[in-house]
Every structure is written in C-alpha cells, then in structure tokens.
Symmetry: C2
Subunit: 421 residues, 2 copies
C-alpha cells in the first residue's frame, strides 16, 4: 500500500491468539468492575502514529483494510501470542545507587526491617550511596532499571526521589527520572537525614518546603510521604502534602505498611491520588478507603521480600475499593521490578483473579498517575503500548510464575523489546 497523504507510521499485529484489555472507562475500576476484562480471540491490533487505531477479531480485518488504504504497514506475526496493555508500575523507587544485598542476607538470617534500620542499614544506607553518586551515574542506574522493567513488560513507570534528602540530590533524582521517561514523584519526606537528626523532623520539613519544594514542584508530578513510626506522623504529613498541593503537585502517601497511623483518613481528607502499602490496614480503614475516591496501591512483592503479611486485597475489592498493584522496586525492601511476578502474587497470595490483577497493573495505576485517559487499555485512541505474552492464554501473565512470559514489548507503536533475535 502507498500513502496518498502524509506518511504515517503503522504497525499491524495480526493473528493474536487473544487480545485482553480492561473494559473500564473514565475512572479507576473498583469492586466488581475490576473483573471487567474483554477478551477477543484470534485478534489483531493496529497501531498508527503511536496510538491504537483499531482492535478486533481477524475476521473484521479485511473490512478495516478496505476502509483505510494508504500507508505502508509493518506487520507483526502474533501467532501463539496474546496481547495485553503495556503494564504501568505506579510505585517504584528506581533511582538509587548501590545495593543492599548484604542487608538482604542479614535479614534472611533473622534480623528485622526495624533492626536493620536502627543499625544504620535501611533507607539511610541507600541515601549515602545515592548522595555519593554523580548525576550521570544515577542516570545510568535508572536506564538499567528501566531496561529491566521493559523486559518485564512495564511501559510506563513512576519513580520517586527520597534517597537524596538534600536539595541537590533530590532534584537530581527527579531530573534523572523525568529524562528517562519516568513519572517523577517527589518523596523528600521519606526519612529524616542524619544532618537533621538533632534538630528533628519538623525542622527537616521546614527545610524541604522552603528550600526544595519550589524547584521540585517544577520537575515532579506528585509528592509522596512515608507515614510511619520513625518517619513522619500524620500532622507532619498533612503540613508537607498541603504545601505540595499548593505548589501544584498531585498527592500520594505511604501508609499502613507496619502501623495504622491514620494515613488513609489523611489521604481522603487531602484528596490524594493514592495511599500505598496497606499491609497493616484493618476493617475500619478498608471501609473508609472503599467509600472514597482514593486508590489503594498494594505492593505484594515488598511483603514477600520482607517476609511479612500480605495486604488485605480481597477485603478491599469486596468492600468496593479501587486498587492498583505495583512493585515498590527498591534496593532494600523489594528488589523486584517484575509486574508479572506481582500478578502471580496477586492470584496466589492476595486472592485476586487474573482479571482483577490485570486491571490493577494497567488502567488503575494509569489513573493513579493521571494517565487513565490514554494509557492502560487496548482501545482506539489510547497510546499504543502493548505487551505480547509468550502464550495463547493471556492469564499466563500470572500463571507462569517467574517464567519468561514476555515475548515482545511495544511502546508508542514501535517494538521496544523482543525476547528473541
């Protein structure tokens, strides 16, 4: 075919065993709507100029081609494969230097997270390594992590600062994340750095809001805070987040990871996009969250990595809450960038179905990141971000535990990664 008008870039993926996509629309799916997945057998997806132009059954393709003659179209053979939307990881700490493999080994021998933190390990160990790294070294680390994510099917990722805790490094983290194509979240309120140990956390927050926020708010899209014993309490989180909202940032919270401290109430009060972790959330918190518009972001790989109890996912969904699933990728408590593993954990540890898991790693996290209108579904007009799974049944995404389930990743209508040469 030749083009009559302006050249356009087209990719036709044909003969797919299945095309599976969340059917939900303009808001995060909640409760029963989390199971609303459309599956087309023997299907195709047509991408055009970076967007989905059409999706349907192969038998409908001739009609479509009659309707749309024109440009050359690149064809991709989808036989034996199934297509799902590109995965969206809405909670990572992917910008860091160093690792914490030594801490991992100590924990396997019985040390607790809090003990390791108290012993100078934990977050502050990564803060030291990240401050010591030059910006190009951080950029190289994020590029490496992004490549790992891409291999695992993640086409959109959020990443937080929070391993700088000083002006220079926090801003460098945000720039590096943005420049790598990530969605940058400012997590200045992750921990109190050593140089503020004496003056205390309130003085540290003063510094953050006066000296870092003005510039951070120009790079980041959202702000996040770690509400936990030893980090920040609800009053401090309110002050920090209110100032961040004032500066135009969307709001997120780390809450109920180890202790229920009121993070859910605060998230609702401040109309946050999400409250994340929730391993410790009880019945009252579940009911409050379910009655709100705040998305609960669950991080089962982190619970597994730390050997702790899983978040109450089934109870949240049954109560009518909107949930998303993310990796929490970070060097200390979840050295895991794999959303397929998270989906396996969702189905084996959280009592979620493959359908619920799919919605929770695509359209719902896209909403958390303010991108629900154009990411997370295979639907005309949406960004052409796709994962082709190496199986005829898309549920292998969760079924093939830690297996080589990603065959091909398409980003913006172009092949970004293939498992085979």
């Amino acid at each position: 075919m030749t083009s009559a008008g302006a050249a356009s870039e087209r990719l036709l993926i044909r003969d797919l065993a299945q095309v599976a996509t969340p059917a939900v629309g303009g808001a995060p799916a909640r409760g029963a709507a989390l199971r609303d997945v459309e599956v087309i057998s023997d299907g195709f997806v047509l991408c055009e100029n970076g967007r989905i132009a059409a999706v349907g059954a192969m038998r409908e393709l001739p009609l479509l081609e009659e309707d749309r003659p024109g440009d050359d179209v690149e064809e991709l053979d989808g036989r034996g494969l199934s297509a799902i939307p590109g995965l969206v990881d809405c909670h990572t700490h992917a910008c860091f230097a160093g690792d914490r493999v030594g801490e991992f080994a100590l924990r396997s021998a019985g040390a607790t997270y809090e003990e390791l933190h108290a012993a100078g390990g934990g977050i502050l160990a990564t803060v030291g390594a990240t401050r010591a790294a030059a910006e190009p070294a951080l950029a190289a680390a994020v590029a490496r992590h992004r490549e790992w994510m891409l291999q695992a099917g993640t086409t959109t990722f959020e990443a937080k600062s929070g391993y700088g805790l000083d002006r220079e490094t926090e801003l460098a983290q945000l720039r590096v994340i943005r420049d790598a194509g990530g969605v940058p979240t400012w997590l200045g309120a992750h921990a109190v750095p050593p140089e503020f140990a004496e003056e205390g956390s309130d003085t540290y927050l003063d510094f953050l809001l006066q000296d870092v926020l003005p510039e951070a708010s120009r790079v980041a899209e959202a702000a996040d805070v770690f509400v936990e014993r030893g980090a920040f309490d609800v009053e401090q989180a309110r002050r920090y987040l209110a100032a961040c909202a004032e500066a135009g940032l969307a709001l997120r919270l780390h809450g109920d990871q180890f202790t229920e401290m009121g993070a859910i109430q605060l998230a609702i009060e401040l109309r946050a996009h999400s409250v994340d972790h929730l391993e410790a959330t009880g019945k009252h918190g579940i009911e409050m969250l379910a009655a709100s518009d705040v998305v609960g972001v669950l991080l089962p790989a982190s619970a597994l990595f730390l050997g702790r109890a899983m978040p109450p996912a089934r109870e949240l969904v049954d109560a009518g809450a909107a949930i998303a699933l993310a990796t929490d990728f970070n060097p200390g408590s979840a050295f895991c960038e794999s959303l397929p593993l998270v989906c396996s954990l969702a189905c084996t540890q959280l009592g979620l179905s493959p359908e619920e898991a799919l919605v929770a790693v695509t359209v719902n996290p896209a909403h958390v990141l303010g991108r629900g209108a154009h990411k997370g579904r295979i639907s005309p007009g949406f960004d052409a971000d796709l994962v082709l799974l190496a199986a005829e049944d898309w549920r292998y995404l969760a079924y093939h535990l830690a297996g080589p389930v990603v065959d091909t990743v398409v980003v913006g209508g172009r092949i970004a990664w293939r498992s085979r040469a």
Copy 2:
C-alpha cells in the same frame, strides 16, 4: 597457543567479580555445612573437555598458563559477572501436555486443591491431555520446558512420569525425559487412573509392578510415589518402592505435602534418596529426618503457588538435616521452572541464608540424583556446568527477585545460553 598433543576443547572465563561454590564434599551437606560456600573474588574458571580444569584468583592465572601451554583456548569476559555452579533441579514433572491455567484462575477465586481434584481437575486433567499427546508432541513440550529451565540457570534436571498412568504413556514419558537429557524418575504411583477407580488402588499397583516396572526400570533411574490421602498410603508405598528397589531403581517419595502419613519413616526404612515436600512435617518428623541420611527436598514455589504454608526449612537445617530445594515444576501446583525464584523464596519465606540456598540448589540435589561426585560444585574434575550471574555479587541469585539474573549458562564447558546477542 597451539597444541602439542591431542586437540582439547578449552574455555577460560576470566575476570569474574566472584566465583562462588559449595565447599562440601562426598555427601550431602547438612546442618551448618549448608553454609559452607567458598567465594573467590576477581577469579577465573578454566574448562577443559567438558570438565573444570582449574579455578582460582586471576593473580594465579599466569602461573597456570605457564604450566599448561597447549591448545587454543576460547576466552569469555567475566567482568561484572559472578559464577556459580549450574543449578540442579531434582524434582520436576516437566513432561506433560496441556496446561491448567483455568484451574489456576478458579483457585485464585477460592477453590482448594482438594476441591479442584475432586471436581475432576487436578492431576487427572493433565493425565488426559498427556495420554492424548503423541510422543513427538511430548518431546516438543519437554524441549520447550528444558529451554525455559536453561534460561533460568538449570543445567541438570530430573523429571518424573506420572501423567500417563498406563503402560504406553508412562514409558513414553520416561523415554522423552531421558532423550532430552533429563534424569527420568518413574512416578507410576502418582494417582489412580479412572480405569482403575472401581478395582481400586491395590489392583492398580499390581498392574504397575507386573506390566510397567520391568520396562520402566530399564529407562528410569529412580522410582517415586505420592503418599497422601486420596493417593497411596504407606503400606502401598512400601510394596511399590520395595519392588522398584529390587528392580534396581533408587527411591524417592512425595510425603507430608498436606498430611503426615508416615512417609519420612518409610523413606528412612527403605534408604530412599529423598523425601519431598514436607510442608506438613511436624517436630517428630524433623527430628527423624535430621538423624537419617535421607535428603529432605523442599518445594517453596509449590507452597506459594497453592497459597499454603511453607515447609519447616529452618527447623530442618537447625536440627542437622540435609535439604535440597527444587521447583516441583508442573502445570497444576507449581507452574514455575525458576530455581532463582526458589532461592528468593528460601531467603524470604524459609529463613535460609543465600549460602544455604546455593548449596541446596547445587551439590545437595546432585547427590539426590546420584551425581554428587561430579555435579554441583566448581572444582577441578567436576562437570563444567556453570551459571554466570548478571551481578558482581553472587547473592543476587536470591536477592534479585524474579529479575533477569542469569547472563550466561555453560554446560559441559560450552556456552549453552546467553541473555545477550
């Protein structure tokens, strides 16, 4: 270099950040010896004619090269990588047709293993699919599964029959496993097939021992039996295994997966190589096993997949038992061929250290398979089966949860798989 004598095939892997190998010798490591891992920094491994010829620190290499001039040597750049022995998976059911992804989805919605089994799902579903497959189709399935295992660093795998439960299919399974380079185990006593439902399990065992064992014992290396409610009891297992031992087969048992029925005692009585699963093993069983020469094979990916309690690994090791870790790869209860994931689970769910996990996926399972004298260690004279990990610290094997941790796999001194072109 040129050869003075007969041509030999040499591969030198140099500048490895670390070479890590179990230090244990002629018997499975037990108790504290499971932590006995030697780590050489800045090391090399020299392979010659399929065996390890030398291993050491780079500074020792010039001396070695003076001593051994001769053949051309292929060099592999190990910078940024660490070497461990090729992984040994001593418990898989890798020879099957079909899948059980529908059952997986049902289980995620709350159905139990026993309920699915009673509803005609479970093992017998795979028996139907496997009986219906022609031998070349089974061979293709095993080849695909073997490729997955290789990508995950498994260089030696065991696989069981047990999805035929008739003469023809059981023998076909064993041949296919052997011809794919696997270690075949005859698991005729996996379940009672439908055609024996009326006559009962004793009559089925008569059939197995009279009609299948004579030929099965010529192909298989070991026999295995599923000791469990709804499968076979201890008396039946004793009769089956005693006949198999008589026919020259090594002995294995599935025991204590859901119910303690005396499998450990029987394993000890019959001098079995291993007793596998042990999720339900209590204090008395732990003590008995620890006092015996039988290896306890733990399958945490299966416990995770089924959402059940983990086996008492820490208690077994502390009591002085010899343990191995395996995947249990099968379509129903552990669709997972990844020993790196099993190592991550060992460190996060079983309370084992990275060192204990390494020994339990290398030299100890090699002993279970009767190959402890030449597989599972990086030591002169051992088979040159190696995994080069994509990290400077070998403990990333367990630390990088579901990550792309395998860079290169060497089997018999030759590169069998690389993650990069």
